[in-house]
Subunit: 340 residues, 2 copies
DNA sequence: AGCGTGCCTTGAAACGATTCACGATCATCG
DNA sequence: CGATGATCGTGAATCGTTTCAAGGCACGCT
């Protein structure tokens, strides 16, 4: 059964289409008797509004004078991997801010693939998203212009670019503080553990750490690049470390998931943390605090980060025409627990 | 800047709107020179198709004769909390299956709120989703009918309902096998730890466990309801357990996150796991295997579950008119590691 | 009676893309 | 040279809704 249109409802109720539309959108304009008649017709025909037509007609309207029933456009949140608690925390911070402003959030993953990223963005474009918060993998200035042309606000997460709003954490500073802490503990043989893909933020963390070491006239003994930033790979890294001629006395991991896996494996192998090996992570995910050896780590204000990004997106979407792009940089903070 | 329409492109390229449309949808009908001219104009204006208009015109057409360039409708995946690794794993399984079939996945969270759930579904409806995979919180038969009327396939995750496709895990069996394992270890004083909200699946796990105990003529010593299913709350539960007159010798946690937090806290307090207290979790998330004390747990085939749900949704969306709803039940599996 | 005033309702014009019956153009062939 | 096709483009009709100027009607007032 082809869904019935407003016209059939009108005929059935013996009124004009305009009146039916009014019943739908501004019931107060319609006399009660008419309203009931129309409502009954709607009921009988099982009529449902055709959203495409509605949107087409309403055009690119903004939140101002929306009749009841019109929803604000959603925002897209594109992250690399929703399986990573860091990403979900950021995204959640963003979602809360968006919800508070009455908008919905759609989450999408780009799976570290520029191709999938493009698909995601096309989808959002097609869905008339009001904006997108994205951890870009292949998105360049050109792509950003395209999104803007489609009427979307764009905010970069954890990356920066020219002429676009962004929120990032100063990972160089974070890495430096982590390295400084290990040095302060008197650890000299240091190892770095990161992911093979070397995404920009991880690279910065390592750079910051390396830089701090260099200033103290040192350099890392080893840098391990694991396949991914997961506990399983952390455990693998631990085994690689233990197989070394001289086991490092301090380890800086590019994220907490790696660190947790690494610490657990070390402990299982009888290595004492932090006595034998001090380990420091990055992110301060919930598990860091509740790990067997509570993890010393560098806290990223990730909830904050999501929130800030959402707010930038909201203002960009609101100001739309002339908008001053802002780059926000948040500073991470060392959280000393037991592992280092 | 209001996004440009097909008409402006036509003017710029010096052709008629019909031709532009042809370039978009049936490029082979257009001479190469014209085609390039139109494409250039599209590029310059940053033109993007207005999906509303397209859909309006095309009417309620289905996947059959879609011209190239038309995107398949996306599917929505609604879970309670994307911060929970179990949920993300399920969702990811679903996404992979959807992607493989050429569809996109939109992730949404209902935050355990029936209200937010309604918003999510309205959003998907408005976005013309092809279907929705949902962990329902307040969705009843009536809501399902409404979704169907809007042309969406519906598949329930981890719940069942009459006249609707669903995929769930037999948690009763899972709980039973966990309890049986603890009993088999000779543990008699058992504690259950769960979440205060008592979502259906958790309740089933406990029921299964309680039933298994009852068959052995026993019952749980305590049942703790923590505020949420997180490691932090697991640690809190550990402290509550240790404050008891008689500390239980076996604990069954409603999920791994709780269990991990609980085990870690026990170990920190000098309690040996599993010697003093055996702990068994539920889910088998990645962290379970790499925890300090590798966790014995009940593995849910969550990737599988997501995949199965996606496939049901895909076939429902394809068969559309006459569709036989299927209820799939997967069986969880005990994974014995070290904690019990 | 004539007129202003509120209500309600109407009808037609958008919105932007797709589709399709027709022309226009041009090369080929008898 | 005219007929025949093939190849390309055109322009108008159409989808279902919202919006809005304009009109109908009943009422009260002078």
């Amino acid at each position: 059964m082809p869904p019935s249109s407003i016209r059939e409802v009108a005929r059935r109720a013996g009124v004009s289409v305009g009146t039916v539309s009014n019943v739908l959108n501004r019931p107060d304009l319609v006399a009660e008797a008419t309203r009931d008649r129309v409502r009954a017709a709607i009921e009988e025909l099982g009529f449902v509004r055709n959203e495409s037509a509605r949107r087409l007609r309403q055009g690119g309207r903004r939140a101002d004078g929306d009749p009841p029933g019109a929803r604000p456009r959603p925002f897209g949140v594109v992250v690399e991997d929703l399986t990573n608690p860091y990403a979900t925390d950021v995204a959640r911070g963003a979602e809360q801010a968006l919800n508070a402003a009455g908008h919905d959030a759609l989450w999408l993953t780009n799976d570290h693939s520029a191709d999938k990223e493009r698909r995601c963005l096309e989808l959002l474009e097609q869905q008339h998203a009001a904006g997108v918060l994205i951890t870009p993998v292949g998105l360049g200035p050109f792509g950003i212009v395209r999104l803007r042309a489609a009427g979307m606000a764009v905010v970069l997460l954890d990356h920066t670019g020219p002429g676009v709003c962004s929120v990032r954490v100063d990972h160089v500073a974070g890495g430096a503080v982590a390295a400084a802490h290990l040095l302060g503990l008197g650890r000299e043989r240091l190892a770095f553990v990161t992911g093979a893909a070397h995404p920009q933020p991880c690279q910065e963390r390592l750079d910051g750490a390396a830089h701090a070491l260099a200033q103290a006239g040192r350099e890392p003994a080893v840098t391990l690049a694991q396949a991914s930033l997961t506990p399983t790979e952390g455990a693998a890294a631990a085994r690689r470390l233990l197989a070394l001629d001289q086991v490092p006395t301090g380890v800086f991991c590019a994220n907490d998931l790696l660190a947790v896996g690494l610490v657990n494996e070390l402990v299982r192998q009888g290595v004492r943390v932090p006595e034998d090996v001090a380990v420091i992570g990055y992110d301060d995910i919930e598990l860091a605090a509740t790990a067997a050896v509570p993890l010393t780590t560098v806290r990223q204000p990730r909830h904050e980060l999501g929130r800030a990004a959402a707010e930038l997106a909201l203002t960009e979407a609101a100001e739309e025409p002339r908008h001053e792009h802002r780059q926000i940089v948040l500073t991470p903070e060392l959280v000393v627990r037991e592992s280092a």
